[in-house]
Protein backbone atom coordinates (compact mmCIF):
# COMPACT_ATOMS: atom_id res chain seq x y z
CA UNK A 1 0.00 0.00 0.00
CA UNK A 2 1.34 3.39 -0.97
CA UNK A 3 0.04 6.57 0.65
CA UNK A 4 0.03 10.11 -0.63
CA UNK A 5 2.37 12.59 0.98
CA UNK A 6 -0.60 14.36 2.62
CA UNK A 7 -2.00 11.13 4.02
CA UNK A 8 1.39 10.24 5.43
CA UNK A 9 1.87 13.65 6.99
CA UNK A 10 -1.46 13.53 8.81
CA UNK A 11 -0.98 9.88 9.78
CA UNK A 12 2.39 10.72 11.28
CA UNK A 13 1.67 14.03 12.95
CA UNK A 14 -1.98 13.27 13.88
CA UNK A 15 -3.02 16.77 14.93
CA UNK A 16 -5.97 16.54 17.27
CA UNK A 17 -5.43 12.98 18.43
CA UNK A 18 -6.77 12.41 21.87
CA UNK A 19 -9.86 13.12 23.95
CA UNK A 20 -11.37 16.16 25.67
CA UNK A 21 -12.37 16.28 29.29
CA UNK A 22 -14.86 18.41 31.09
CA UNK A 23 -18.50 19.35 31.11
CA UNK A 24 -20.31 20.03 27.85
CA UNK A 25 -18.00 17.94 25.74
CA UNK A 26 -19.89 16.30 22.88
CA UNK A 27 -18.74 12.80 22.10
CA UNK A 28 -19.76 10.48 19.29
CA UNK A 29 -18.33 7.29 17.85
CA UNK A 30 -19.00 4.86 15.01
CA UNK A 31 -17.69 1.57 13.72
CA UNK A 32 -16.15 -1.15 15.85
CA UNK A 33 -12.69 -2.49 16.58
CA UNK A 34 -13.90 -5.96 15.76
CA UNK A 35 -14.65 -4.80 12.22
CA UNK A 36 -11.31 -3.03 11.95
CA UNK A 37 -12.45 0.59 11.98
CA UNK A 38 -13.57 2.60 14.99
CA UNK A 39 -13.59 6.41 15.20
CA UNK A 40 -14.57 8.77 18.04
CA UNK A 41 -14.82 12.56 18.02
CA UNK A 42 -14.89 14.86 21.04
CA UNK A 43 -16.14 18.39 20.45
CA UNK A 44 -15.90 21.36 22.74
CA UNK A 45 -18.72 23.69 21.77
CA UNK A 46 -19.60 27.19 22.83
CA UNK A 47 -22.81 28.86 21.58
CA UNK A 48 -23.09 26.35 18.77
CA UNK A 49 -19.54 26.97 17.55
CA UNK A 50 -16.83 24.37 17.83
CA UNK A 51 -13.94 25.59 19.98
CA UNK A 52 -11.81 22.47 19.89
CA UNK A 53 -12.00 18.93 18.55
CA UNK A 54 -10.16 15.71 19.23
CA UNK A 55 -10.40 12.22 17.80
CA UNK A 56 -9.46 8.66 18.63
CA UNK A 57 -9.25 5.96 15.96
CA UNK A 58 -8.55 2.29 15.67
CA UNK A 59 -8.23 2.37 11.91
CA UNK A 60 -6.07 2.33 8.82
CA UNK A 61 -3.75 5.24 7.95
CA UNK A 62 -6.24 6.80 5.52
CA UNK A 63 -8.95 6.88 8.15
CA UNK A 64 -6.63 8.26 10.80
CA UNK A 65 -5.35 10.96 8.42
CA UNK A 66 -8.84 12.07 7.41
CA UNK A 67 -10.07 12.11 11.00
CA UNK A 68 -7.04 14.16 12.02
CA UNK A 69 -7.59 16.64 9.20
CA UNK A 70 -11.28 17.06 10.04
CA UNK A 71 -10.43 17.67 13.67
CA UNK A 72 -7.90 20.31 12.60
CA UNK A 73 -10.50 22.11 10.46
CA UNK A 74 -13.15 22.01 13.17
CA UNK A 75 -12.43 25.05 15.34
CA UNK A 76 -14.70 27.95 14.43
CA UNK A 77 -17.20 25.91 12.50
CA UNK A 78 -20.82 25.84 13.46
CA UNK A 79 -21.92 22.61 15.07
CA UNK A 80 -24.82 22.19 12.67
CA UNK A 81 -22.64 22.52 9.57
CA UNK A 82 -21.81 19.34 7.73
CA UNK A 83 -18.22 18.12 7.41
CA UNK A 84 -15.99 20.69 5.69
CA UNK A 85 -15.77 18.40 2.66
CA UNK A 86 -17.91 15.60 1.26
CA UNK A 87 -16.75 12.01 1.45
CA UNK A 88 -15.97 12.27 -2.27
CA UNK A 89 -13.81 15.34 -1.78
CA UNK A 90 -12.04 13.81 1.20
CA UNK A 91 -11.33 10.68 -0.81
CA UNK A 92 -9.66 12.74 -3.47
CA UNK A 93 -7.74 14.94 -1.09
CA UNK A 94 -6.24 11.91 0.70
CA UNK A 95 -6.10 9.55 -2.29
CA UNK A 96 -8.27 7.00 -0.53
CA UNK A 97 -8.60 3.83 -2.64
CA UNK A 98 -12.10 3.05 -3.80
CA UNK A 99 -12.31 -0.10 -1.67
CA UNK A 100 -11.86 2.02 1.44
CA UNK A 101 -14.49 4.69 0.81
CA UNK A 102 -16.84 2.95 3.23
CA UNK A 103 -14.49 3.86 6.04
CA UNK A 104 -15.04 7.55 5.39
CA UNK A 105 -18.72 6.99 5.99
CA UNK A 106 -17.79 5.72 9.45
CA UNK A 107 -15.95 9.00 10.04
CA UNK A 108 -19.03 10.90 8.88
CA UNK A 109 -21.23 8.82 11.19
CA UNK A 110 -18.94 9.42 14.15
CA UNK A 111 -18.90 13.15 13.49
CA UNK A 112 -22.65 13.30 13.17
CA UNK A 113 -23.04 11.24 16.33
CA UNK A 114 -20.85 13.72 18.19
CA UNK A 115 -22.66 16.75 16.81
CA UNK A 116 -26.09 15.29 17.54
CA UNK A 117 -25.14 14.13 21.01
CA UNK A 118 -25.57 17.78 21.97
CA UNK A 119 -29.25 17.61 21.14
CA UNK A 120 -29.88 15.46 24.17
CA UNK A 121 -28.24 17.92 26.55
Amino acid sequence: MRYSALTLRYFETVPGAGALDGVGILRGAAGSRAQGTWVQFDLQVSSGTIQAARFLAFACPHTIAVAAWITEQAAGRHLQMPLPETVEELSQRFAVPIEKRGRLLIIEDAWRAAAQSGEHH
Partner: protein, 411 residues
Protein backbone atom coordinates in the same frame (compact mmCIF):
# COMPACT_ATOMS: atom_id res chain seq x y z
CA UNK B 1 7.05 8.65 -1.16
CA UNK B 2 7.38 7.85 2.51
CA UNK B 3 8.67 10.79 4.45
CA UNK B 4 9.84 8.55 7.28
CA UNK B 5 12.38 7.02 4.96
CA UNK B 6 15.85 7.75 6.19
CA UNK B 7 19.04 7.90 4.20
CA UNK B 8 19.80 4.21 4.66
CA UNK B 9 17.26 1.59 3.70
CA UNK B 10 14.89 0.17 6.30
CA UNK B 11 16.02 -2.87 8.26
CA UNK B 12 14.94 -5.90 6.22
CA UNK B 13 13.09 -8.41 8.38
CA UNK B 14 10.97 -10.02 5.67
CA UNK B 15 13.19 -12.97 4.75
CA UNK B 16 10.18 -15.28 4.74
CA UNK B 17 8.79 -13.35 1.76
CA UNK B 18 12.07 -13.45 -0.11
CA UNK B 19 15.80 -13.34 0.53
CA UNK B 20 18.55 -11.46 -1.23
CA UNK B 21 20.59 -13.69 -3.52
CA UNK B 22 23.89 -14.77 -1.97
CA UNK B 23 26.74 -12.96 -3.79
CA UNK B 24 28.38 -16.32 -4.58
CA UNK B 25 25.12 -17.49 -6.12
CA UNK B 26 24.78 -14.29 -8.14
CA UNK B 27 28.31 -14.77 -9.42
CA UNK B 28 27.60 -18.35 -10.48
CA UNK B 29 24.44 -17.21 -12.27
CA UNK B 30 26.34 -14.50 -14.10
CA UNK B 31 28.58 -17.21 -15.56
CA UNK B 32 25.62 -18.66 -17.46
CA UNK B 33 24.31 -15.62 -19.25
CA UNK B 34 26.46 -13.76 -21.73
CA UNK B 35 28.46 -14.93 -24.72
CA UNK B 36 31.50 -15.41 -22.48
CA UNK B 37 29.60 -17.85 -20.25
CA UNK B 38 27.60 -21.04 -20.63
CA UNK B 39 24.64 -19.52 -22.40
CA UNK B 40 23.82 -22.60 -24.50
CA UNK B 41 20.41 -24.26 -24.43
CA UNK B 42 20.80 -27.33 -22.19
CA UNK B 43 18.43 -29.12 -24.56
CA UNK B 44 20.75 -28.60 -27.54
CA UNK B 45 22.60 -31.87 -27.71
CA UNK B 46 24.20 -31.21 -31.07
CA UNK B 47 26.99 -28.94 -29.86
CA UNK B 48 29.30 -28.17 -26.99
CA UNK B 49 27.46 -25.03 -25.91
CA UNK B 50 24.41 -27.14 -25.19
CA UNK B 51 26.43 -29.92 -23.58
CA UNK B 52 28.26 -27.52 -21.30
CA UNK B 53 24.97 -26.03 -20.15
CA UNK B 54 23.47 -29.48 -19.63
CA UNK B 55 26.45 -30.44 -17.47
CA UNK B 56 25.84 -27.42 -15.25
CA UNK B 57 22.15 -28.26 -15.02
CA UNK B 58 22.93 -31.80 -13.89
CA UNK B 59 25.46 -30.58 -11.34
CA UNK B 60 22.82 -28.26 -9.92
CA UNK B 61 20.32 -31.11 -9.82
CA UNK B 62 22.79 -33.16 -7.81
CA UNK B 63 23.40 -30.25 -5.43
CA UNK B 64 19.70 -29.79 -4.75
CA UNK B 65 19.18 -33.52 -4.36
CA UNK B 66 22.09 -33.92 -1.95
CA UNK B 67 20.92 -31.07 0.25
CA UNK B 68 17.43 -32.54 0.78
CA UNK B 69 18.10 -36.28 0.90
CA UNK B 70 16.86 -37.04 -2.60
CA UNK B 71 18.29 -38.60 -5.74
CA UNK B 72 19.14 -36.47 -8.74
CA UNK B 73 16.57 -38.23 -10.89
CA UNK B 74 13.85 -37.26 -8.42
CA UNK B 75 14.37 -33.52 -9.06
CA UNK B 76 12.02 -31.86 -11.56
CA UNK B 77 12.83 -28.20 -12.16
CA UNK B 78 9.92 -25.78 -12.02
CA UNK B 79 9.45 -22.01 -12.01
CA UNK B 80 9.06 -22.00 -8.23
CA UNK B 81 7.19 -23.64 -5.39
CA UNK B 82 3.87 -22.34 -6.68
CA UNK B 83 4.26 -24.31 -9.89
CA UNK B 84 5.68 -27.28 -7.96
CA UNK B 85 2.61 -27.30 -5.71
CA UNK B 86 0.29 -27.06 -8.69
CA UNK B 87 2.12 -29.83 -10.54
CA UNK B 88 2.05 -32.07 -7.47
CA UNK B 89 -1.60 -31.54 -6.65
CA UNK B 90 -3.13 -31.46 -10.13
CA UNK B 91 -0.60 -33.97 -11.42
CA UNK B 92 -1.42 -36.58 -8.78
CA UNK B 93 -5.14 -35.81 -8.62
CA UNK B 94 -5.60 -36.15 -12.37
CA UNK B 95 -3.37 -39.19 -12.70
CA UNK B 96 -5.09 -41.07 -9.89
CA UNK B 97 -8.59 -39.73 -10.53
CA UNK B 98 -9.75 -43.25 -11.27
CA UNK B 99 -8.52 -44.46 -7.88
CA UNK B 100 -10.31 -41.78 -5.94
CA UNK B 101 -11.22 -38.16 -5.69
CA UNK B 102 -10.51 -37.26 -2.11
CA UNK B 103 -7.69 -35.07 -0.84
CA UNK B 104 -6.60 -34.16 2.67
CA UNK B 105 -4.83 -30.90 3.45
CA UNK B 106 -4.81 -28.27 6.19
CA UNK B 107 -6.27 -24.81 6.67
CA UNK B 108 -2.87 -23.24 7.19
CA UNK B 109 -1.32 -24.25 3.88
CA UNK B 110 -0.01 -21.63 1.48
CA UNK B 111 -2.45 -20.34 -1.14
CA UNK B 112 -0.46 -22.24 -3.74
CA UNK B 113 -1.81 -25.41 -2.12
CA UNK B 114 -5.24 -24.17 -1.05
CA UNK B 115 -6.17 -22.62 -4.40
CA UNK B 116 -5.36 -25.76 -6.45
CA UNK B 117 -7.41 -27.75 -3.93
CA UNK B 118 -10.33 -25.36 -4.34
CA UNK B 119 -10.04 -25.68 -8.12
CA UNK B 120 -10.17 -29.47 -7.73
CA UNK B 121 -13.31 -29.13 -5.64
CA UNK B 122 -14.81 -27.19 -8.53
CA UNK B 123 -13.88 -30.15 -10.74
CA UNK B 124 -15.61 -32.64 -8.45
CA UNK B 125 -12.97 -33.69 -5.93
CA UNK B 126 -13.66 -33.74 -2.19
CA UNK B 127 -11.16 -31.97 0.02
CA UNK B 128 -10.81 -32.26 3.78
CA UNK B 129 -9.19 -29.20 5.37
CA UNK B 130 -7.68 -30.15 8.72
CA UNK B 131 -7.79 -27.54 11.49
CA UNK B 132 -4.53 -27.10 13.40
CA UNK B 133 -4.49 -26.60 17.16
CA UNK B 134 -4.07 -23.15 18.69
CA UNK B 135 -0.31 -23.44 18.19
CA UNK B 136 -0.64 -24.19 14.48
CA UNK B 137 0.24 -27.87 14.77
CA UNK B 138 -1.50 -30.72 12.94
CA UNK B 139 -1.64 -33.91 14.95
CA UNK B 140 -0.72 -36.83 12.66
CA UNK B 141 -3.70 -38.63 14.17
CA UNK B 142 -5.91 -35.99 12.50
CA UNK B 143 -4.55 -37.11 9.14
CA UNK B 144 -5.16 -40.76 10.01
CA UNK B 145 -8.74 -39.96 10.95
CA UNK B 146 -9.32 -38.01 7.74
CA UNK B 147 -8.10 -40.69 5.35
CA UNK B 148 -10.85 -42.38 3.41
CA UNK B 149 -10.66 -45.41 1.14
CA UNK B 150 -10.58 -43.15 -1.92
CA UNK B 151 -8.05 -40.63 -0.60
CA UNK B 152 -5.34 -40.26 -3.25
CA UNK B 153 -3.35 -37.33 -1.92
CA UNK B 154 -2.42 -35.69 1.36
CA UNK B 155 -0.77 -32.27 1.16
CA UNK B 156 0.72 -30.92 4.38
CA UNK B 157 3.39 -28.25 4.49
CA UNK B 158 6.67 -28.62 6.30
CA UNK B 159 7.42 -25.12 7.62
CA UNK B 160 4.57 -22.63 7.74
CA UNK B 161 5.37 -19.37 6.01
CA UNK B 162 3.48 -17.14 8.44
CA UNK B 163 4.26 -18.62 11.82
CA UNK B 164 7.28 -20.86 11.19
CA UNK B 165 5.73 -23.92 12.79
CA UNK B 166 7.24 -27.25 11.66
CA UNK B 167 4.86 -30.13 11.01
CA UNK B 168 5.81 -33.74 11.72
CA UNK B 169 5.79 -34.84 8.10
CA UNK B 170 7.64 -38.10 8.81
CA UNK B 171 4.84 -39.26 11.08
CA UNK B 172 2.27 -38.21 8.50
CA UNK B 173 4.21 -40.06 5.80
CA UNK B 174 4.10 -43.24 7.87
CA UNK B 175 0.33 -42.90 8.16
CA UNK B 176 -0.06 -42.40 4.41
CA UNK B 177 2.16 -45.40 3.71
CA UNK B 178 -0.01 -47.57 5.97
CA UNK B 179 -3.09 -46.37 4.14
CA UNK B 180 -1.46 -47.53 0.93
CA UNK B 181 -3.43 -45.37 -1.45
CA UNK B 182 -2.69 -41.84 -0.31
CA UNK B 183 0.47 -40.20 -1.60
CA UNK B 184 2.00 -37.47 0.55
CA UNK B 185 2.94 -34.09 -0.89
CA UNK B 186 4.88 -31.67 1.31
CA UNK B 187 5.28 -27.98 0.53
CA UNK B 188 8.81 -27.38 1.79
CA UNK B 189 9.24 -23.93 0.24
CA UNK B 190 10.21 -22.48 3.61
CA UNK B 191 12.40 -25.32 4.83
CA UNK B 192 15.79 -25.12 3.13
CA UNK B 193 18.44 -23.84 5.46
CA UNK B 194 15.97 -23.63 8.32
CA UNK B 195 15.47 -27.19 9.39
CA UNK B 196 16.69 -30.61 8.27
CA UNK B 197 14.99 -31.84 5.10
CA UNK B 198 15.28 -35.54 4.33
CA UNK B 199 13.02 -36.47 1.43
CA UNK B 200 13.80 -40.18 1.55
CA UNK B 201 14.13 -40.31 5.32
CA UNK B 202 10.77 -38.65 5.86
CA UNK B 203 9.20 -41.08 3.40
CA UNK B 204 7.53 -38.30 1.45
CA UNK B 205 6.37 -38.87 -2.16
CA UNK B 206 6.31 -35.31 -3.49
CA UNK B 207 8.03 -32.22 -2.15
CA UNK B 208 8.00 -28.63 -3.40
CA UNK B 209 11.08 -26.43 -3.11
CA UNK B 210 11.72 -22.78 -3.89
CA UNK B 211 15.09 -21.10 -4.42
CA UNK B 212 14.29 -17.54 -3.44
CA UNK B 213 13.50 -18.31 0.18
CA UNK B 214 17.03 -19.67 0.57
CA UNK B 215 19.24 -16.95 -0.97
CA UNK B 216 18.73 -18.25 -4.49
CA UNK B 217 16.94 -16.53 -7.39
CA UNK B 218 13.21 -15.98 -7.76
CA UNK B 219 11.47 -17.87 -10.54
CA UNK B 220 12.99 -21.29 -9.99
CA UNK B 221 12.10 -24.21 -7.78
CA UNK B 222 11.73 -27.93 -7.96
CA UNK B 223 9.27 -30.70 -7.37
CA UNK B 224 10.83 -33.80 -5.90
CA UNK B 225 9.04 -36.84 -7.29
CA UNK B 226 9.91 -39.99 -5.41
CA UNK B 227 11.14 -42.95 -7.43
CA UNK B 228 11.17 -45.20 -4.41
CA UNK B 229 8.81 -48.11 -4.75
CA UNK B 230 6.09 -48.19 -2.22
CA UNK B 231 5.84 -51.57 -0.56
CA UNK B 232 2.55 -53.32 0.07
CA UNK B 233 1.37 -52.83 3.60
CA UNK B 234 -0.55 -55.62 5.29
CA UNK B 235 -2.94 -53.22 6.91
CA UNK B 236 -3.63 -51.14 3.84
CA UNK B 237 -7.09 -49.73 3.93
CA UNK B 238 -9.40 -50.00 0.98
CA UNK B 239 -8.19 -53.37 -0.24
CA UNK B 240 -5.48 -54.02 -2.79
CA UNK B 241 -4.61 -50.82 -4.64
CA UNK B 242 -3.32 -51.42 -8.11
CA UNK B 243 -0.52 -48.91 -7.70
CA UNK B 244 0.64 -50.03 -4.27
CA UNK B 245 3.91 -51.43 -5.52
CA UNK B 246 4.92 -48.69 -7.90
CA UNK B 247 6.32 -45.25 -7.39
CA UNK B 248 4.21 -42.19 -7.91
CA UNK B 249 3.16 -40.98 -11.35
CA UNK B 250 1.95 -37.55 -12.32
CA UNK B 251 0.17 -35.94 -15.19
CA UNK B 252 2.12 -32.97 -16.55
CA UNK B 253 0.83 -29.40 -16.43
CA UNK B 254 2.95 -28.06 -19.32
CA UNK B 255 3.30 -30.06 -22.51
CA UNK B 256 5.96 -29.49 -25.10
CA UNK B 257 9.63 -30.21 -25.59
CA UNK B 258 9.81 -33.34 -23.45
CA UNK B 259 12.13 -31.76 -20.88
CA UNK B 260 12.31 -33.13 -17.33
CA UNK B 261 11.25 -36.59 -18.45
CA UNK B 262 8.06 -35.21 -19.95
CA UNK B 263 6.88 -33.90 -16.59
CA UNK B 264 7.71 -30.26 -17.21
CA UNK B 265 8.14 -28.89 -20.71
CA UNK B 266 10.10 -25.71 -21.30
CA UNK B 267 13.71 -24.70 -21.83
CA UNK B 268 15.59 -25.28 -18.58
CA UNK B 269 17.02 -21.91 -17.49
CA UNK B 270 20.65 -22.73 -16.76
CA UNK B 271 21.46 -19.67 -14.67
CA UNK B 272 18.37 -20.15 -12.55
CA UNK B 273 18.95 -23.80 -11.66
CA UNK B 274 22.68 -23.21 -11.20
CA UNK B 275 21.72 -20.50 -8.72
CA UNK B 276 19.32 -22.80 -6.91
CA UNK B 277 21.86 -25.63 -6.78
CA UNK B 278 24.53 -23.51 -5.17
CA UNK B 279 22.06 -21.74 -2.88
CA UNK B 280 20.79 -25.05 -1.53
CA UNK B 281 24.29 -26.39 -1.03
CA UNK B 282 25.29 -23.26 0.89
CA UNK B 283 22.08 -23.20 2.91
CA UNK B 284 22.54 -26.79 3.95
CA UNK B 285 26.18 -26.33 4.86
CA UNK B 286 25.49 -23.27 6.99
CA UNK B 287 22.24 -24.43 8.50
CA UNK B 288 23.27 -25.49 12.01
CA UNK B 289 25.30 -22.40 12.81
CA UNK B 290 22.64 -20.12 11.37
CA UNK B 291 19.83 -21.79 13.29
CA UNK B 292 21.72 -21.26 16.55
CA UNK B 293 22.60 -17.66 15.76
CA UNK B 294 19.12 -16.64 14.63
CA UNK B 295 17.47 -18.50 17.50
CA UNK B 296 19.31 -16.17 19.88
CA UNK B 297 18.34 -13.06 17.95
CA UNK B 298 14.72 -14.09 17.74
CA UNK B 299 14.50 -14.56 21.52
CA UNK B 300 16.08 -11.14 22.02
CA UNK B 301 13.36 -9.69 19.80
CA UNK B 302 10.55 -11.51 21.58
CA UNK B 303 11.81 -10.55 25.04
CA UNK B 304 11.92 -6.93 23.98
CA UNK B 305 8.48 -6.92 22.41
CA UNK B 306 6.88 -8.46 25.49
CA UNK B 307 7.73 -5.33 27.45
CA UNK B 308 4.97 -3.59 25.45
CA UNK B 309 2.30 -5.75 27.06
CA UNK B 310 -0.67 -7.02 25.08
CA UNK B 311 1.62 -9.03 22.80
CA UNK B 312 0.81 -12.58 21.73
CA UNK B 313 3.24 -14.95 20.08
CA UNK B 314 1.63 -16.96 17.26
CA UNK B 315 2.62 -20.56 16.65
CA UNK B 316 4.28 -23.18 18.82
CA UNK B 317 7.62 -21.68 19.87
CA UNK B 318 8.99 -25.13 20.66
CA UNK B 319 8.16 -26.42 17.17
CA UNK B 320 9.19 -23.59 14.95
CA UNK B 321 12.15 -22.50 12.87
CA UNK B 322 14.19 -19.77 14.53
CA UNK B 323 13.98 -17.48 11.52
CA UNK B 324 10.40 -16.50 12.18
CA UNK B 325 8.56 -14.64 14.89
CA UNK B 326 4.90 -13.76 14.48
CA UNK B 327 3.37 -11.47 17.09
CA UNK B 328 -0.11 -10.00 17.54
CA UNK B 329 -0.38 -6.59 19.20
CA UNK B 330 -3.49 -5.70 21.14
CA UNK B 331 -5.04 -2.30 20.54
CA UNK B 332 -3.48 -1.45 17.19
CA UNK B 333 -4.91 -1.77 13.72
CA UNK B 334 -2.79 -3.91 11.39
CA UNK B 335 -2.39 -1.69 8.38
CA UNK B 336 -1.55 1.33 10.49
CA UNK B 337 1.03 -0.70 12.37
CA UNK B 338 2.72 -1.65 9.10
CA UNK B 339 2.56 1.91 7.86
CA UNK B 340 3.96 3.29 11.09
CA UNK B 341 7.06 1.07 11.01
CA UNK B 342 7.46 1.13 7.26
CA UNK B 343 10.05 3.85 6.93
CA UNK B 344 12.54 2.07 9.13
CA UNK B 345 11.49 -1.57 9.14
CA UNK B 346 10.49 -3.92 6.31
CA UNK B 347 8.15 -6.56 7.74
CA UNK B 348 4.84 -7.99 6.67
CA UNK B 349 1.67 -9.44 8.03
CA UNK B 350 2.37 -12.81 6.53
CA UNK B 351 0.68 -13.07 3.23
CA UNK B 352 1.69 -10.79 0.39
CA UNK B 353 -1.45 -8.78 -0.01
CA UNK B 354 -2.41 -7.56 -3.45
CA UNK B 355 -5.61 -5.75 -2.59
CA UNK B 356 -5.95 -2.38 -0.96
CA UNK B 357 -8.10 -3.87 1.76
CA UNK B 358 -5.95 -5.83 4.15
CA UNK B 359 -7.58 -9.13 5.01
CA UNK B 360 -6.93 -10.77 8.34
CA UNK B 361 -4.51 -13.67 8.01
CA UNK B 362 -6.39 -16.90 7.41
CA UNK B 363 -3.53 -18.74 9.07
CA UNK B 364 -3.86 -16.82 12.34
CA UNK B 365 -7.62 -17.13 12.22
CA UNK B 366 -7.24 -20.89 11.83
CA UNK B 367 -5.30 -20.79 15.10
CA UNK B 368 -8.33 -19.19 16.72
CA UNK B 369 -6.77 -15.78 17.19
CA UNK B 370 -9.93 -13.82 16.33
CA UNK B 371 -10.20 -11.26 13.63
CA UNK B 372 -8.83 -8.19 15.37
CA UNK B 373 -5.68 -9.82 16.71
CA UNK B 374 -5.19 -11.73 13.46
CA UNK B 375 -5.06 -8.45 11.66
CA UNK B 376 -2.85 -6.70 14.17
CA UNK B 377 0.15 -8.93 13.76
CA UNK B 378 3.63 -8.62 12.36
CA UNK B 379 5.77 -11.36 10.89
CA UNK B 380 9.45 -10.85 11.58
CA UNK B 381 11.54 -12.89 9.15
CA UNK B 382 15.15 -13.01 10.25
CA UNK B 383 17.91 -13.96 7.86
CA UNK B 384 21.55 -14.14 7.03
CA UNK B 385 22.15 -10.42 7.08
CA UNK B 386 20.27 -9.89 10.34
CA UNK B 387 22.47 -8.69 13.20
CA UNK B 388 21.88 -7.66 16.80
CA UNK B 389 21.76 -4.02 15.75
CA UNK B 390 18.88 -4.82 13.38
CA UNK B 391 16.96 -6.46 16.19
CA UNK B 392 17.47 -3.48 18.45
CA UNK B 393 16.36 -1.11 15.71
CA UNK B 394 13.29 -3.25 15.12
CA UNK B 395 12.50 -3.21 18.82
CA UNK B 396 12.79 0.55 19.03
CA UNK B 397 10.69 1.12 15.92
CA UNK B 398 7.92 -1.29 16.86
CA UNK B 399 7.79 -0.09 20.45
CA UNK B 400 7.40 3.50 19.34
CA UNK B 401 4.79 2.65 16.70
CA UNK B 402 2.66 0.45 18.92
CA UNK B 403 2.74 2.98 21.74
CA UNK B 404 1.78 5.82 19.42
CA UNK B 405 -1.06 3.89 17.76
CA UNK B 406 -2.40 2.72 21.09
CA UNK B 407 -2.53 6.35 22.20
CA UNK B 408 -4.40 7.30 19.01
CA UNK B 409 -6.83 4.44 19.44
CA UNK B 410 -7.37 5.22 23.11
CA UNK B 411 -6.27 1.70 24.04
Amino acid sequence: MNSLKVASRPVYLDHAATTPVDPRVAAAMAQCLTAEGEFGNPGSTSHDYGDAAATLVEKARAQVAASVGAHSDEVIWTSGATEANNLAIFGAAEHYAKSGRHIVTSRTEHKAVLDPCRELQRRGWRVTYLAPDGDGLIDPAQVAAALQPDTVLVSIMHVNNEIGVVQDVAAIAAICARHGGAWLHVDAAQSAGKCAVDFAGFGVNLMSLSAHKAYGPKGVGALLVSRRDRGQHGDAAGGARSFAHTHIHLQALHFGGGQERGLRAGTVPTHQVVGMGLAFELADAGRKAEVARLGGLRERLWQGLQLLGGTFRNGAAAHSVPQLLNVSFEGVEGESLLAAVRGRLAVSTGSACTSALQEPSYVLRALGRGEVLSESSLRFGLGRTTCEQDIDTALAVVTEAVSRLRRISGA
